[in-house]
Amino acid sequence: MIDAMSPRLILLAPEMILFVAAVAVAIMGLSKNHSIRASLPFVTCAALIASIAAVPMTWTNENAHAANLLLPMLGRFVKPLLAGVGVLLVLLSVGSVDRRLEESVARGRIAFDPQRVVRGEFYAFFLLSVMGAMLLCNAQDLIWLFLAIELVSLPTYIMVAIGGSGNRNQEAAVKYFFLGAMSTAVFLYGFALLYGSTGSLQFLEIRNALAAQSAGSGIDTIAVIGVVLIILGLCFKITAVPMHFYAPDVYEGAPTHVTAFLAFVPKTAGFTALVLILTCVGWTGHTLIDSDGVRIPYMGLPTPIAAILWMIAILTMTLGNIGALLQSSVKRMLAYSSVAHSGYLILGLIAGATAGIEALYFYLLAYGVMTTASFAALAALERRGEEINSFADLAGLRLRHPVMAWMLAISAASLVGMPPFIGFFGKIYLFIAAFEADQFGLVVAAVLNSAVSGLYYLKLAIVPLVAPPSARSEEVTSVPSRWPFIAAVVCGVGTIVLPSIAGLLVDAARKSTQSAPIVSTASQSESPAGVVAGPDSITLKSQ
């Protein structure tokens, strides 16, 4: 039967699994039976694991190439990445959604009322959002890209609101929703301009049209403005300057397990969208090496786009790190740290195909594991039924909750780029990619920023381990569910163990980021010898 299906449809198998599970979870959430409601996170996990298993079975070379995708093998790495970190994110949320309500029902204080439970909806939206991020890998035109991005975002607005209990959640959700809607408008406008300039919605055709333009009189101004607007709009998803202002407020206001989700899934989706759009335009700053060993600069991205990405990268990491230095709230600090890490990740975007993109995805993997570790450690603890928020809550954590204190320290060490944790290898790999693209200045900026980030990450490690306990931290207890604890341990161990298979992971990322061959002849015939306007120029270097 599978043979009869079109390749594009087969590639959607993981998403179909998630969609079916989302519907099932939404219905199961209404069940009167407590144990069925309690099983929802694990059903969600099972669906995510099944979708991981479905990827290698369906995402074969032939299928992917037959589907006419821009980056045919991208999904093979990105989908398991999303689902894999997704499993950990689900474990983080166990017991948090509907907690008060479930406790009251269990004590018999109130009767079960299907209208008041939201757990089913929460996990359904969780799955839909992950599904949206996965769908991005299958995008072959702007419409699909737009719908997939919105499918990532819309559920997250609701998840922020319903994921926990408290007024701050609603406030954060409203903020997040309105600013998100604005960013959507910005990049949608960009899509329109890009369409207006190239006359097509298909990525492959857009790429050919832009290559033809660039080989002729240079890329159309309308197209450049369009791409710039798209980048700015997507900056919201990846919490990059100038659209990062919401991050501290929303990350702090959202329930911790949703914050962890926001820090990873929309960010991965945003970067995937940026990778696709920029692949259409081509990458900048590559030096090709001809047979005599002479470096020929190759300018693929138009200067304005390259310059804007450059500025975004520098500003994002600098403002993120400076912002994080000033925080007394752990979640706000981690929000700024997430901004700073986006700055590092943009290095990968500027470095471009293929070394930059593979470094970007490898770093996203590292970032997903280590940032989830820190949020999981926070989610595993509470103070008087409230979330942990200030550093005072964490002081001397080691005495009562040694494992969580160590996990916070490990994730801090990994986030700062301390060897031999996974974050170090992610950084090394990003820097190497930036060198490949001749972006020496960016590497220096990132190195200096890493040094600055040492100031506040050290605090995240030292306060729980060494500081004397405060009156506030004496009241910190574990949450009833032990799953956030397990997720924190898994992530913490992951940051230590994953480097040993870093070679394999990098290899997988590399294989997934090969782009489709350029079919246009116009650009090739008019280009100087050895310089091909296109995203796969880096492969010429090995010749």
Partner: protein, 552 residues
Amino acid sequence: MPISTDILLIWISILFPIATALIVAIGPAKSARWTALAGTMVSLAALTMFAWNFPAWHNAEHFPNTVGASWIPNAGITFAVGFDTVSLLLALLSAFLMPLCIVGSFSAITERTKEYYGWFLVLGASIILAFAARDAILFYIGYEFTLVPMTLIIAVYGGTERRIAATKMFLYTFLGSMFMLAAILYVGWEHRLAAGVWDFDIDTLTKTAIRLPSSNQYWLFAAFIVGFAVKVPLFPLHTWLPLAHDQAPTAGSVILASAMLKLGTYGNYRFALPMAPAGGADLMSFVAILAIIAIIYASLICWVQTDAKKLIAYSSVAHLGLCMLGLFALNPVGAEGAVFYMVNHGLSTGALFLCIGMFYERYHTKDTDLVGGLAKRMPVWASFMVLFTLASIGLPGLNGFIGEFLCLGGTFIAEHDGKTGYPGVLGPWYAIVAGLGLIFAAMYLLILLGKLVWGPLREPHGESAHAGVGHANSSTRLPRDLSFREIAILTPLAIACIWLGFQPKPMLDAIAPCAEKMLANYPKEVERYMAESTTAPLASLRVKTTDESRDE
């Protein structure tokens, strides 16, 4: 790829302590110290067995000189390990000190013992990894990771200002090593440009780096020297060290002074100097002047210091300044002396920190104004203290002398005319000024001895009655003079100090080829620098020997 016995032994010496650390962390607190001791002993035994069969004592080759197992093939990162004479000596020194430090902590550390011993094992392992690494990234991993256990050891088990001390140490060193990482990646990138593949093998990188234009080498050297100068520490970047030493527990101070600081000088020996000879030649006098400032300035501070531990810490700054001066004399005499001094400074300063620690455990003060005349109270301790102080001063017949003498001698002959075949821009004046530091060293260390050991007996008020009690914990009751355990710690160090004082030749002979290999490119580069530069410091004292410079 078949793994040879030698590589296996190296990895045992690195991984066995880490495995032991895990056992310590899981196992009962009672047996933690003995498990940790066993772990470090196995590490030392493995490294000794390796050294026993080490075939490359008298050539500058690395052994085993094989390609390491690949780790991240795309980035050219491998698990390559191997030693040359210098790194083997330093690794042996670290492995030798580890069990002594563990035994030395038995009575000092009474709380959170499992963590303490676990981190100590990891610290030792990562130091050995840094010395053993032949891949630059692997070196960086070992070098940088030492910070984590050391920060925790200081921050948890240190004195009253421990958190400030730990934070300061972490941030200084972390910032510095970022420059070093950038430099390593830059050389890797140049190799990528030249050869088409990424490779971080140190020898390969060295071959690439020496071909770079001299302006690039200048910046490369500058980045390396900033990174390593923090660790050494060199004069303006040294401020973290006295605080860290003062606050660290005794064993932490020992490892910090004897092994971790050596990573800085070793980094200069392995990376900065051989990779960027043009930069080294350009900055030779600059670094030498900083080193001399360190010697004089730290010595003067020592003179007025009443805290015995801080005094040893500052004397460490002065001694390592001398070591750097010898290294930057850029001739084999100085370099040999510097490497020899690295090992011997590790022995004598480590022993001094242990002595001060033993005295502190009894009197709970390090203030030399409050305590004195202990020769009457603790004759055995006093004998050891005198021996190690004399070794540190550089008394002929003890180990410190040879290194100091060679460092100064190397500086003395590092002159423009280069009769030795190794021209330089230093010379007698540098040696004379630096030599003042040795006189100061004799003065402040003898003053310390005079106060602590001799003179009328002075004990802190109320302490004399409890002098034999030690900590309130009765299980760690200390005798008035040294216990058998403490004598057992100091004796191996004393033997090593005396033996190396009388028999330095085997070690010097072994170091010599390495020193020459490291300096292979320097005569040429220093000549070039001297020809080019007419504005260098002290250039007016120099006779122009080449025609080019007259033409300019």
